[in-house]
């Protein structure tokens, strides 16, 4: 069966386009996918490539409904992005059952390539482990050796805290204390006071989205950074920094898999993306671009869009694009690539719009990601 099965290669971008994670990926991810298609030439194996997208509204049932319909009746060949772990896990399970490819760039959980791994499922941009290694490990090496955690009080927060502490300790640092705050707390001052009085050098924010933004903003108010403590956000991207403003965010440390202003190549992609969307890409956008591109390359190489053949290529082919330079894909579906430890600039150091980060360190992919053999994925023997 050579060529595209139905005369067309269709890729679905399924993510949150109107809810809390809309800035994380959102419509801009669809744009990134479109860019990849154009950069690839618009056709693969002489068949046109089509991008479809849907807003899952952060509801797994809607996502699941759409994913099934896409796979079953609309000849969608692969589904990508998949922000929010509940959605990603649900869609990956469907892909596994229906033998269809999914590439996750939006969700963070390591389960996707661990106990919930699928022969057709790939995890592309980042995961909680990589964030923990980046921020936890690398920061200790920079002198941040005592930590206090502000942790969102649910599984995601615990696992971020847990994984990060491990790397802090493994690198010779120690964890002085932690406090768990409820999800969507508006006010962090109580917790920040506790962090302040702990005297830790680094205050780790094991939470996400608005919670992190609010904590950072209020930390500035209470003079945490002026007092010599360092803030480290464990899941925070360029888009969030933009929303917070440099005034409040300055000095913050975080880890991303991509930064547009890192070198010429990334700058070129960033500018192109900016012209189309009005914002600079973060690792989810760039990751989605990379995922689509690699998927098309895999079809090209396999000479067919048959799932097994393409999945085989995806596992074997090295990744080499603006996002996943020198990346490889593990047997569990994990795309392994370098991560960057970034620090937010002071307002007067920022030379242009969106010039937000200093790159403090590069974390090699093999350090950043779990060794597939130890991932708990039963595809790895």
């Amino acid at each position: 069966a050579d060529g595209a099965s139905d005369g067309k290669v269709k890729i679905g971008i399924l993510n949150d386009q109107s809810g809390v994670y809309a800035d994380f990926g959102g419509k801009s991810s669809v744009e990134a996918a479109q860019m990849a298609v154009e950069d690839f030439g618009g056709k693969v194996l002489d068949s046109p490539i089509e991008i479809v997208d849907a807003d899952h509204q952060n509801k797994p049932d809607i996502a699941s409904n759409i994913a099934r319909q896409w796979y079953d009746t609309e000849q969608v060949d692969a589904i990508m992005e998949l922000t929010t772990s509940s959605v990603a896990l649900a869609v990956q399970a469907i892909g596994k059952e229906k033998k269809k490819i999914d590439i996750v760039t939006g969700a963070a959980t390591t389960d996707l390539t661990g106990k919930a791994c699928s022969p057709y499922g790939f995890h592309w941009a980042y995961d909680t482990h990589a964030l923990a290694v980046g921020t936890g490990g690398a920061l200790v090496k920079q002198g941040g050796d005592s930590w206090f955690f502000l942790t969102a009080d649910y599984a995601f927060g615990y696992s971020l805290e847990q994984q990060t502490s491990d790397f802090v300790k493994a690198n010779g640092g120690n964890v002085i204390g932690s406090v768990r705050h409820p999800l969507a707390s508006q006010d962090f001052s109580s917790f920040l006071l506790q962090a302040q009085s702990s005297g830790a050098k680094v205050v780790g924010l094991a939470n996400a989205g608005l919670d992190t933004s609010n904590a950072i903003k209020q930390a500035a108010e209470f003079g945490i950074t002026q007092g010599g403590q360092r803030l480290a956000a464990l899941l925070f991207t360029l888009a969030d920094v933009h929303g917070l403003g440099l005034e409040a965010a300055q000095g913050l440390t975080l880890t991303e898999g991509y930064y547009w202003n890192r070198d010429d190549e990334s700058r070129a992609f960033g500018k192109k993306f900016f012209d189309r969307t009005g914002k600079m890409p973060n690792m989810i956008h760039a990751g989605t671009y990379s995922a689509v591109l690699q998927y098309l390359k895999a079809i090209q190489k396999a000479g067919t869009d048959d799932t097994d053949a393409v999945a085989k290529q995806l596992h074997e082919m090295p990744v080499d694009d603006v996002f996943g330079r020198g990346g490889t894909v593990g047997p569990n579906g994990r795309m392994i690539h370098d991560m960057y430890l970034l620090q937010v600039k002071k307002p007067d150091e920022s030379k242009e719009a969106w010039d937000y980060f200093d790159v403090l360190a590069t974390i090699p992919g093999k350090d950043a990601y779990i060794d597939p053999a130890k991932s708990g994925c039963d595809l790895v023997k």
Partner: protein, 295 residues
């Protein structure tokens, strides 16, 4: 250092103060809710959205009009109040006399629509808003570092709450308002222009929410979601206080703010539900709420 339950007294004082700051927002918001409910018999689900609007208007004024915090403190509530007036004139007016649940549902829809619009236009990660320079920095109170701005929030909310209470309980205008809730037609027959009164009332409630929003802008991230996060808690505050009295709404706001603050120290995991737990207990013991009149 003196300790209470293993916590230094000083830290405790600090946390009490912080609780009071939180309580300031609860008080302002539950006050507005209570006024609107008291006079219009509408549970204003859009109250959170109006709080958010206040913050956003302040942000937009700054970003697009160069209008700073101080003018915004007056202008944003006015703008949102005006918006409220329009909403009341066009829509809410048609719901008077119906089962109050329709008012609840309408404002619920309105909250979704407003929030959705802002999310659509400005994303959900929020917008920056700096503390006005006159109130930047902080003082060391000995037991804690108090950002000056936070102190300002407490003072302002107290002033506004008490002012509003006096307006409603002690003035003729307030008497009209209270009478109109019970029997608008009759008050109108007596020669009072009730429709205008009701419009003003809703505008006042919305304006109060917006005022809280502007106060919050330098502290919390200005985000389309900031309202929906807080509104449910404020509902609980209102239930605990009981809808009977304006004063009840204010006092309960502060008290529960402090209660929540203390929970954050002793048992932080429960701090988001402590108000709900208090609500359940109060309901079991005193169904009308702490200050409620109707048993």
């Amino acid at each position: 250092m003196t300790m209470i339950f293993g916590i230094p007294v000083q830290a405790l004082l600090g946390q009490l103060l912080i609780g009071l700051i939180n309580g300031s927002f609860y008080a302002l918001l539950s006050l507005g809710l209570a006024i609107i409910f008291g006079l219009l018999r509408i549970i204003n689900f859009a109250h959170g959205a109006q709080y958010m609007l206040g913050a956003f208007v302040a942000y937009l004024m700054l970003a697009y009009g160069g209008i700073g915090y101080w003018p915004a403190l007056i202008l944003a509530p006015l703008a949102v109040g005006l918006f409220g007036a329009v909403v009341e004139r066009l829509f809410l007016r048609r719901l008077y006399g119906l089962d109050p649940l329709y008012g609840l549902l309408f404002t619920f829809g309105m909250a979704l629509a407003i929030e959705g619009t802002f999310r659509y236009l400005y994303g959900s990660s929020g917008q920056p808003y700096a503390t006005p320079s006159a109130l930047a920095g902080g003082t060391n109170l000995g037991f804690m570092f108090l950002p000056i701005y936070r102190g300002w929030v407490v003072v302002m909310s107290l002033v506004v709450c008490i002012g509003t209470w006096l307006l409603i309980e002690k003035t003729k205008l307030g008497a009209y308002l209270r009478a109109a809730t019970e029997n608008a037609v009759l008050v109108q027959v007596f020669g009072v222009n009730v429709p205008v009164l009701l419009t003003l009332t809703y505008a006042l409630g919305a304006g109060l929410a917006a005022f809280a929003g502007v106060l919050a802008a330098p502290v919390y991230q200005v985000s389309p979601l900031m309202g929906s996060n807080i509104i449910i808690v404020v509902f609980a505050v209102v239930v605990v206080g009981g809808m009977g009295s304006i004063m009840g709404a204010i006092v309960t706001g502060y008290v529960l703010g402090v209660a929540e603050g203390l929970t954050k120290v002793f048992y932080p995991e429960a701090s988001n539900i402590v108000i709900f737990v208090i609500m359940a207990i109060v309901l079991l013991v005193r169904p009308a709420g702490l200050f409620g009149r109707d048993a």
